[in-house]
Amino acid sequence: MTKTRRAWVFPAIILFGGLLTPGCGSDYVVFHPAGPVAQSELNLIVLSAIVVGVVIVVIWVLWAYVLIRFRDTPHNTAPYWPHWQHHRVLEVMVFVFATVALVVVAIPTVHKTYVLDRIPSRHPLVIDVTSLDYKWLFEYPVQHIATVNYFYMPTHRPVLFQLTARSPLSAFWAPNLGGMEYAMPNRVLPLWLEASHSGVFRGRNANFTGIDFWRMTFMVHAVPKKTFSHWVSQVQAAKHPMTRATWRTLLKPTVTPPLRYSNYPSWTFPQRPTAFTVKGLEYVPTKNP
């Protein structure tokens, strides 16, 4: 008996070890927030996980107890109540327990949903994002530069992303900085993120848009303000503007390496925000950052 038992121990250790130990590694992007939005989302994730964890444990313990105690074995000494089918107090207690657990999650949910909807600055950096087939285009309307599949942003300054698509529904997701928002054709949707320390972060399209959608990733370079201005002037100085011809190439369904443009035609991004959009943000675009 001991031999067969032991045979199970090793695989079991490897299995659970393999599942649980990586929990702290930096691959767990959601657990490594690099800015206030991701941090606030993580806090809610942790809080809700603890609350539902309590519910899970309560039910598991009750379940295990009942299963052990009330088995139909010949010498079971547990009581047998063949008519017990009501207990008002118990039913009310269960109801209250479930309700309290939910209220604990619900209050911060409501609070954070509203907080995250308001960008905490009247002068954010604006980046217009367009999802193209299998690539991301980033345009800086004030700096008049554009990049593909990567972008720079300054730390400690909220960034307003205005998302649209010239492709099927895509979802813009840079988990270290915060949760996602869809990029849709014929619509412009807002999302604000902020980096509280510098670093290079991965982002991707989280919604299926075709055979190469899984290769549709981008890199976020969060850098100090000075480095950012330096980078902007570098790109501006490169004298490599986006033309009508480059735009047409970009519209083709391809995967491209990172690209940058010292200028771009303004008609590449919808000029008039549509319904649904920046209204909720109390944001007024200004020319002077």
Binding site: V30, W81, H87, T109, R204, F208
Partner: protein, 661 residues
């Protein structure tokens, strides 16, 4: 030659490159051989007539239930093979077991098959097999409509499943969001197959909803008030009403997409300011109630299984029924939680987040009530009970992660990630599939007259459940690592490798569990352990008062119901002789007559659907005329009933030992 050019064009349409892959051609050949073998077997054993009279034209709810069950198991196999192909592709980074196009087709059919052609028929299999027996009825309210529903489902399933050998599979995901599902991105007929197969099957589903609604409301035995019907019947009633209100939005969404694709409209296109968002709303107005359509019957099954195998009445009947009603009502107000990231304002998101959380209260009440039902009972570990016992700890995890997903800002990080994938497999497998399998093992003796081997059933259960945990628990963590759904493959170096490997191993363990289950069924059929009592589990509800399987008229004598667990009460009070008849009390019984009209009608729909899929409008019109002709024939045909005379009833019952001397 124009004829030659036309033929060439047709061949290209029917066999585009994506259906000429070697593995697909191999499957085509295998299927053809299988069809020929079955045909030869039926001819040699002279069973064509038997097949036609006993099964194809039947309107008997018990046989329709069996056909639904067989179809659901076949579709579970198909969807399961798709799942194993997906997991094989993801076993290691940069694996190219299939190309991206084929991968997209496989995950699309996996989702579509599992939801619409596995879970739905499994639910309807149990409804058909048991609901009339549990309420003391001789059939459903509209028996021929019931057969029509089945055949519409069957031809819908055939449509979707033939797409991969003729014309090409759909590849836009089971939700088929436009504009990706529109012609611009999805030329070819694959997407049309998706739209039309769901449309055809969906008509049948709505009809089933109406049928069971009327059956349960109008055909209960005398004395069986709504407060006395078993909770499974309550779940059938509520599910049917959900079907009735949830499927029409799907019909509209699919219909408008079809108009876009086949007739050049622009409801959801990018061009002409189409509104893809509108499809997303319509789809989830259907899609979220659909989740409850799938899980409520499982709740119903457990509410029968737990009392039976704990030898106790269900704890808190009113609370159980009340929470089913609450869930069904709240279920209509949660659909936006599938797209918190599509730009609705914070107030809208908060409303739908909170309404979603509210659903956890009645669900939590149910979990506790099942536990309290076992409390103070005597638990027998039979196979149906094992599935229930696995359900509680599994489903509570799925429900819990559901609350996490409902916390709106949290969802910004989970949406479309593997966290979401783990969550909905956790509730659909841990809820619906565990529940349906529990129900299948529970009512199998009643449906077929023989029992399934307990030891093999336990093995199948153990493999399937452990495989399930191994597959889906790692996926929660993959979500936190930023892995998103529907990726055809992934690069190394993101930390996803180990967890994906475990997940794939788990999937194959689950596959092994399914194979053991099939072996379990075949073995038990070979060495039949007949259920001669009609009550193999010491049951509580009316279906166990009947012989297994029930005679075609179910009840020779309609019972007068006095209490909730009527059969249990009869046994306790020594009233079991009430089910017997005598030469003086026997009456002739009127039963619905078999009809070929249902399969003809469904076939006409099938022809019409093919016409629309390939945009051969002459064929679509032909199919439409066929539908009208079948309906007209059905309306004017006489003799829709047969009479089973009293002598025959008396003979049958005497053979079953149910005649008073």
């Amino acid at each position: 030659m124009p004829i030659q050019r036309w033929t060439l064009h047709l061949l290209r349409l029917l066999f585009p490159p994506q259906v000429l892959l070697p593995d697909i051609v191999a499957i085509d050949i295998g299927l053809t051989v299988a069809v020929i073998v079955i045909g030869v077997y039926l001819t040699r054993t002279r069973r064509w007539g038997w097949l036609w009279h006993e099964w194809i034209t039947t309107v008997d709810h018990k046989k329709i239930g069996i056909m639904y069950l067989i179809a659901a198991l076949i579709m579970l196999f198909r969807g399961g093979v798709d799942a194993l192909m997906i997991r094989s592709q993801l076993i290691a980074p940069n694996a190219h077991f299939m190309g991206a196009q084929q991968y997209d087709e496989v995950f699309t059919t996996h989702g579509t098959v599992m939801i619409f052609f596995m879970a739905m028929p499994m639910v309807f299999a149990l409804f058909n097999a048991t609901v009339p027996l549990m309420i003391g009825a001789r059939d459903v309210a509209f028996p021929r409509l019931n057969a029509i529903s089945f055949w519409l489902f069957a031809f819908g399933a055939i449509l979707l499943n033939m797409s991969f050998s003729i014309g090409g599979s759909p590849s836009a995901g089971w939700m088929s969001y436009p504009p990706y599902s529109e012609l611009l991105y999805n030329p070819g007929v694959g997407e049309n197959y998706f739209l039309l197969s769901l449309q055809v099957a969906g008509i049948g589903t709505i009809a089933t909803g109406i049928n069971f609604l009327v059956t349960i409301l109008r055909m209960r035995a005398p004395g069986m008030s709504l407060s006395k019907i078993p909770v499974f019947v309550w779940s059938a009633l509520i599910t049917s009403s959900l079907v009735l209100f949830a499927f029409p939005p799907l019909t509209v969404a699919l219909g408008l997409t079809m108009l876009d694709r086949v007739f050049g409209a622009s409801f959801f296109t990018i061009a002409h300011q189409g509104m893809p968002m509108m499809y997303v709303n319509l789809f989830w107005i259907f899609g979220h109630p659909e989740v409850y359509i799938l899980v409520m019957p499982a709740f119903g099954v457990f509410s029968e299984v737990v009392p039976t195998f704990s030898r106790k009445p269900l704890f808190g009947y009113e609370a159980m029924v009340g929470s089913l009603l609450a869930i069904s009502f709240l279920g209509y107000g949660t659909w936006v939680h599938h797209f918190f990231e599509m730009g609705a304002g914070p107030s809208v998101n908060v409303f739908f987040g909170l309404s979603t959380m509210l659903i956890a209260i009645p669900t939590g009440v149910k979990m506790f009530n099942w536990i309290f039902t076992m409390w103070g009972g005597r638990i027998r570990l039979t196979v149906p009970m094992l599935w229930q016992l696995a359900f509680i700890p599994t489903f509570v995890v799925g429900g819990a992660t559901g609350i996490m997903l409902a916390a709106v800002p949290g969802d910004y990080q989970y949406h479309n990630s593997y966290f979401l994938i783990a969550h909905f497999h956790n509730v659909i497998l841990g809820g619906t599939v565990f529940g349906m399998l529990s129900g299948m093992y529970y009512w199998w003796p009643k449906m077929f007259g023989w029992k399934l081997n307990q030891r093999q059933g336990t093995w199948a259960f153990a493999l399937f459940v452990s495989g399930f945990w191994l597959t889906f628990m790692p996926q929660y963590f993959l979500g936190f690592e930023g892995m998103t759904r529907r990726m055809a493959t992934y690069p190394a170096g993101l930390g996803w490798t180990t967890l994906n490997l475990w997940s794939t191993v788990g999937a194959f363990v689950m596959g092994a569990g399914f194979l053991v289950m099939v072996y379990n069924i075949l073995w038990s059929r070979r060495y039949r352990d007949w259920d001669v009592t009609g009550d193999p589990w010491d049951g509580r509800t009316l279906e166990w008062s009947l012989p297994s399987p029930a005679p075609e008229y179910n009840f020779a004598r309609i019972p007068m119901v006095q209490s909730r667990d009527e059969w249990w009460a009869m046994k306790q009070e020594g009233r079991t002789d009430e089910v017997k008849i005598s030469a003086t009390t026997v009456h002739p019984i009127h039963m619905p007559r078999n009809s070929a009209m249902p399969i003809m009608l469904a076939f006409a729909f099938f022809v019409g659907a093919i016409g629309l899929i390939f945009a051969w409008f002459w064929m679509a019109i032909l199919g439409g005329l066929g539908v009208i002709a079948a309906l007209a024939y059905g309306s004017f045909a006489d003799y829709s009933e047969v009479e089973i005379d009293a002598k025959h009833v008396l003979q049958t019952e005497a053979q079953l030992g149910r005649v008073e001397s």
